[in-house]
């Protein structure tokens, strides 16, 4: 069964929506389900426009539809249809469109999690740095300025050692 919202991807989720006191059951694809859970506008509103619909509306030079990923060969329209990337390169092959999709789904396109490096030593340092940053934020929030100063010093030392 196709998703009742985008009518493109396969419906996988039964979604119960309550609007103006009325209950509505929808069969949705994971992407539309998450968008609706986030209270994002439904089909029709520009923010929820499908990437390929947008591509049609926009001027030809803005079209990303024909772009193919050099890593796996996936085209942007294939991605829009399936809602799945084929490989890590897809993220960069489709340019700004990817950022817009993240803005729609997560309200942000910026990573704020723990940093990671395939280099084990660097990875360890990054992890420690993140921990200290979080501890610093907490100390400041709790107005524990002595502790905050101590953490700031430690952070500075750590960052110097990284260079």
């Amino acid at each position: 069964m196709l998703c009742e919202n985008c009518k493109i991807r396969e419906a996988k989720i039964t979604f119960v929506e309550v609007k103006d006191g009325k209950k509505r059951v929808l069969h949705l694809c994971p992407i539309c389900a998450e968008k609706l859970s986030l209270g994002l506008p439904e089909k029709g509103a520009p923010a929820d426009e499908l990437p390929e619909e947008r591509a049609e509306r926009e001027s030809p030079e803005e079209r990303t539809q024909e772009l193919a990923c050099p890593g796996c060969g996936m085209t942007f329209s294939e991605f829009a249809k399936k809602g799945r990337f084929g490989c890590a390169e897809c993220y960069f092959a489709f340019g700004e469109k990817v950022k817009e999709i993240f803005e729609e789904i997560h309200g942000s396109a910026l990573y704020r999690g723990r940093r990671y490096s395939t280099d084990r030593k660097v990875s360890e340092l990054l992890r420690r740095e993140k921990e200290l940053e979080e501890a610093l934020e907490k100390a400041v929030r709790e107005e524990n300025f002595e502790e905050a100063a101590r953490i700031r010093d430690e952070l500075q030392k750590l960052r110097e050692s990284e260079q």
Binding site: K12, I13, T14, V16, E17, V18, G21, K23, P30, I31, A33, E34, S37, L38, G39, G71, C72, M74, G83, R84, F85, G86, C87, A88, Y91, F92, V98, I101, F102, I105, H106, G107, S108, A109, L110, Y111, R112, G113, R114, Y116, S117, T118, R120, S123, R127, E134
Partner: protein, 349 residues
């Protein structure tokens, strides 16, 4: 291997955690992919098997996966696949055949690692009751250890790269299975859903994607993985769960104030049916178990353990029931065997 699993319930159904009657279990999962390989759906068979080999080696070197159970999906019967899905150890996505797909399960079933599902790695940690901190710490700890031998696909500015854009970033998702009979009976589900629609969570039925709510058990999950840190995800999700539980407690108070007799009647009737019916469908069983569970929650039933009800629900599912009785059964025979299983189990209390 699967034989041992048939005889016992997993630890996450042990009802040991906080508020076990309302919170059946807590779960955290992270999605990761390996650098240098296409995501599983695009990856050819041979490379998929190579990825599996590499991940298996990394996982089995960790103490968390000592004596782990390993199942290659292509080697399992349909019944065994559904059995693992009913236990939440694999997802419905892994049910589909495909070589190089596997699941690695820790002995106590508190960790499961799905390989080559939508992503190369889907690592999940489970705990009974409300215990988000434990599953959060555990899943990230094991993820970090795996990341010391494996190279994850990770790029600025997006973080960890996943097959689905809904998981990009931290790849982290927290969820709880909640028993919300008070809210359902007092007809306030819409109010709850309306409240939850404002925060960044999803609400689904017992088995996650694509299934309906049965036995008043809901799965609530966090949704965001970009723009938030792991810690923020934990903190905001914990708040959502607390708010939901408060809503449930208030609903129960309202029920007890306004319809005490009717509620107690429903609870006792449900227990009577479970103890004496000759035929029980899964849906019915789930409904009656829910009423009895609520009875324990509001102090009307003392001689039945929440753990027993968790096990009843687990083993009442079609694949579990068939494994338990050691044969394939059609719906009619299942209803009969289910009723006799439930009756025996309750009598043993």
């Amino acid at each position: 291997m699967m034989r041992d699993m048939v005889e016992r319930a997993p630890r996450w159904l042990s009802a040991e955690g906080k508020f076990p009657e309302m919170v059946i279990s807590s779960r955290a999962r992270v999605a990761r992919n390996l650098e240098g390989f296409l995501f599983p759906a695009k990856l050819d068979k041979t490379l998929r098997k190579g990825v599996l080999k590499e991940i298996k080696k990394a996982a089995l070197s960790l103490p968390e996966f000592r004596d782990a159970l390993i199942f290659e999906i292509s080697e399992l019967s349909d019944l065994d696949r559904v059995f693992l899905a009913e236990r939440h150890l694999i997802s419905l996505d892994l049910l589909a055949d495909g070589e190089g797909k596997a699941v690695i399960i820790s002995r106590d079933e508190t960790l499961s690692l799905m390989v080559n599902e939508e992503d190369h790695i889907r690592l999940q940690a489970f705990a009974p009751g409300l215990n988000l901190e434990e599953v959060f710490e555990k899943v990230l700890q094991v993820e970090q250890k795996l990341g010391e031998t494996l190279s994850y696909a990770y790029r600025e500015p997006y973080g960890f790269l996943t097959s689905c854009p809904t998981n990009t970033g931290t790849g982290l998702r927290l969820s709880v299975l909640l028993h919300l009979a008070g809210i359902v009976y007092s007809k306030q589900l819409e109010g709850l859903l309306r409240n939850l629609a404002k925060v960044k969570v999803s609400v689904r039925g017992l088995y996650g994607e694509g299934t309906n709510v049965e036995g008043n058990v809901f799965q609530i999950s966090s949704l965001l993985s970009l723009g938030v840190s792991e810690k923020e995800t934990l903190e905001s999700f914990r708040d959502v769960v607390e708010i939901t539980l408060d809503f449930e407690r208030k609903s129960r108070e309202i029920l007890l104030e306004n319809m005490k007799e009717a509620l107690e009647d429903k609870i006792q009737r449900s227990l009577a049916i479970l103890s004496s019916a000759r035929l029980l469908s899964f849906k019915e069983t789930a409904e009656y178990v829910s009423a009895v569970r609520l009875g324990i929650g509001i102090g009307k039933i003392f001689d039945i353990k929440v753990k027993t009800l968790n096990e009843l629900l687990l083993f009442s599912q079609p694949a579990h029931l068939q494994k338990l009785f050691g044969k394939e059964m059609g719906p009619q025979e299942r209803d009969e065997k289910r009723a006799s299983y439930v009756k025996t189990k309750l009598k043993a209390e």
